[in-house]
C-alpha cells in the first residue's frame, strides 16, 4: 500500500514550526532550550521544503 503521502502531516509540522518560532521569541528562554528549538526548527523547514518539492498527487478513481 502506497501511504507515503499520508504519512507526512504537513499541517501538524507547519503548526509545530510556528510554535517553535513563538517560543524562540520568549525573552526568558534558556540558551540550551533555544539551541534545541533552533535545531528542531531548521530540521522541520528542511522536511517541509522536501515535502513540497517531492510529494506527488495521487489519484484513485471511483465510478459512482
Amino acid at each position: 500500500m502506497a501511504k507515503k503521502t499520508d504519512a507526512f502531516d504537513y499541517r501538524a509540522k507547519s503548526e509545530e514550526l510556528e510554535r517553535i518560532v513563538a517560543e524562540l521569541q520568549n525573552p526568558d528562554i534558556h540558551i540550551d532550550e533555544a539551541t534545541q528549538l533552533h535545531t528542531a526548527g531548521v530540521k522541520l523547514i528542511a522536511e517541509l521544503e522536501a515535502y513540497l518539492n517531492q510529494a506527488e498527487i495521487e489519484i484513485k478513481k471511483h465510478v459512482a
Binding site: 503521502t5 499520508d6 507526512f8 502531516d9 504537513y10 499541517r11 514550526l17 517553535i20 518560532v21 524562540l24 521569541q25 525573552p27 528562554i29 540558551i31 533555544a34 539551541t35 533552533h38 526548527g41 531548521v42 523547514i45 517541509l48 521544503e49 515535502y51 513540497l52 518539492n53 517531492q54 510529494a55 506527488e56 498527487i57 495521487e58 489519484i59 484513485k60 478513481k61 471511483h62 465510478v63 459512482a64
Partner: protein, 378 residues
C-alpha cells in the same frame, strides 16, 4: 356495411387502453403548467395546455425536481391512460422545467423553500481543511472542469490524494449520479477530508442538476465538508449556496483548497532567517547577561578587598592601643617576681627580690616594706 360494433363501457375503456399501450406506451409532452396542486403531500395533479388544448396529468411528488408553479413551461414524460371513472390523463413519470424562464422560476421557488429550511445559513458552514490531504472530486473525468482542477492543484500543491467519483454533470442521469457519488464518498471507510463538486459553465439547462433539490439536499447533508464550484463567475447554483464553501470556477476551487507552493517555499525561507535571527538574539542577550555578571563579580571582589583592608587597619589600631610598651614609654613599670607578673601587693612578701621592667631596661629591687590599701601591714 355490417352490424355496428357495440362495446360495453368497461370493454371500450379496456380496448382503448390496450390500443394506447400498443401505439403510445410512453410519451413526452411539452406545455404550460396550470392547475398544479399537491394532495396529501403525495399526489400531484396538473394540466398542460397550449393555445388550443388542455391535458390532465397525475403523478407523485417523488417525481418532481423541486417546487413548480402554474405558468411554467415543462416537459412531462409518462403513460397515457383512460381511467374508468375519471377519464383521460397521463401518468407522469418525470417532469422538468424547460427554457431559461421556467428553469429560473423553478430554481427561485426551490431556493426560497430550502432557504426557509435554513439550508443556506451561514452558521451551517464548516471550515475546510487547509490544505486537505485527501480530496473527493465529483465530476465528469472527461470534462474541462476535471482537467482545470487537476492542473491548478498540481501546479500549486503536492501530496494530495484525489479520489475521483465519476458522474454525469448534465442531463437526466446527472442528479441521481451526483447524489450517489456524495453518498459513496461519505460511506467510505476513510472518507476524504473535503468533497469538491465542480463543472464548467453552461446554459441554465446544462447546470440544472446542481440546482436539483435532491442534489442540493445531499450537499447540505454531507458529513464531509463540501466545496461546490459550478461554471463561470456569474452562474450560481443552489448546490453552491448549500455547500460549506463556494468556488467560482473549477480552477478557483483548487486555489481555495491549497496554498501556492512557491509562496509557501518563500515563506519557509523567511522562517529559516527568522529562526537564525531569533537564536542570535537569544545568544546576544545571554552574552550581555554574562558581561553584566562579570562586572558584578569584579565589583564584589573589589568591595570585599576594601572591607578587609579597613578591618585590618582597625585591628591594627586596636592592637596598638593595647601595646604594653606604649604604657612603659609613658612612665609605667611592670613588676615581676621571678617569672610571674605581679598584679597584687599581697602576692609579694617583704624582702623579696623583684624586677622592674621599664621602657629602656630592667631594674632589680628588694621589697623593704609594704602597706595594703585596707591598711593591713605585713
Amino acid at each position: 356495411m355490417g352490424e355496428p360494433l357495440i362495446f360495453g363501457v368497461s370493454d371500450f375503456v379496456a380496448v382503448l387502453n390496450q390500443t394506447l399501450e400498443l401505439a403510445y406506451p410512453f410519451v413526452t409532452i411539452e406545455g404550460e403548467l396550470s392547475n398544479f396542486r399537491v394532495a396529501r403531500n403525495r399526489w400531484v395533479y396538473f394540466d398542460l395546455k397550449d393555445a388550443e388544448s388542455s391535458l390532465r396529468f397525475f403523478g407523485t411528488v417523488y417525481a418532481l425536481p423541486g417546487p413548480l408553479e402554474d405558468g411554467m413551461v415543462v416537459r412531462v414524460s409518462g403513460n397515457p391512460r383512460l381511467h374508468p371513472q375519471y377519464g383521460f390523463s397521463v401518468n407522469m413519470q418525470s417532469i422538468t422545467p424547460v427554457g431559461e424562464g421556467a428553469l429560473r422560476r423553478a430554481a427561485d421557488l426551490l431556493a426560497a423553500k430550502l432557504a426557509a429550511e435554513g439550508l443556506f445559513e451561514a452558521d451551517r458552514k464548516r471550515p475546510l481543511p487547509y490544505p486537505p490531504r485527501r480530496i473527493g472530486l465529483i465530476t465528469a473525468g472527461e470534462s474541462a472542469a476535471y482537467a482545470d482542477f487537476m492542473k491548478i492543484l498540481q501546479a500549486r500543491w503536492r501530496g494530495v490524494a484525489i479520489e475521483h467519483f465519476e458522474t454525469a454533470v448534465q442531463g437526466e442521469q446527472a442528479p441521481s449520479q451526483l447524489v450517489a457519488a456524495i453518498a459513496a464518498a461519505n460511506a467510505l471507510e476513510r472518507p476524504p477530508e473535503v468533497l469538491v463538486l465542480t463543472r464548467g459553465g453552461g446554459s441554465a439547462d446544462d447546470l440544472a442538476a446542481f440546482s436539483n433539490e435532491a442534489v442540493v439536499r445531499a450537499v447540505a447533508a454531507s458529513r464531509v465538508p463540501t466545496l461546490v464550484a459550478i461554471g463561470h463567475e456569474v452562474d450560481v447554483s443552489l448546490a453552491e449556496l448549500a455547500a460549506d464553501q463556494r468556488g467560482s470556477t473549477p480552477s478557483n476551487a483548487a486555489e481555495l483548497l491549497t496554498p501556492d507552493r512557491q509562496v509557501v517555499l518563500g515563506r519557509l525561507g523567511e522562517q529559516r532567517q527568522d529562526l537564525n535571527v531569533l537564536l542570535g538574539r537569544v545568544v546576544t542577550r545571554r552574552q550581555d547577561a554574562l558581561k553584566a555578571a562579570r562586572l558584578e563579580l569584579d565589583r564584589g571582589l573589589t568591595e570585599a578587598y576594601e572591607a578587609a583592608r579597613q578591618r585590618v587597619h582597625l585591628l591594627r589600631q586596636l592592637l596598638e592601643a593595647y601595646d604594653p610598651s606604649l604604657a612603659l614609654q609613658r612612665g609605667y613599670a611592670l613588676l615581676h617576681l621571678g617569672d610571674q607578673l605581679v598584679k597584687r601587693a599581697a602576692d609579694v612578701p617583704v624582702g623579696a627580690a623583684v624586677q622592674l621592667q621599664l621602657s629602656d631596661g630592667t631594674l632589680t629591687a628588694t621589697i623593704t616594706d609594704k602597706e595594703l590599701n585596707n591598711g593591713q601591714k605585713d
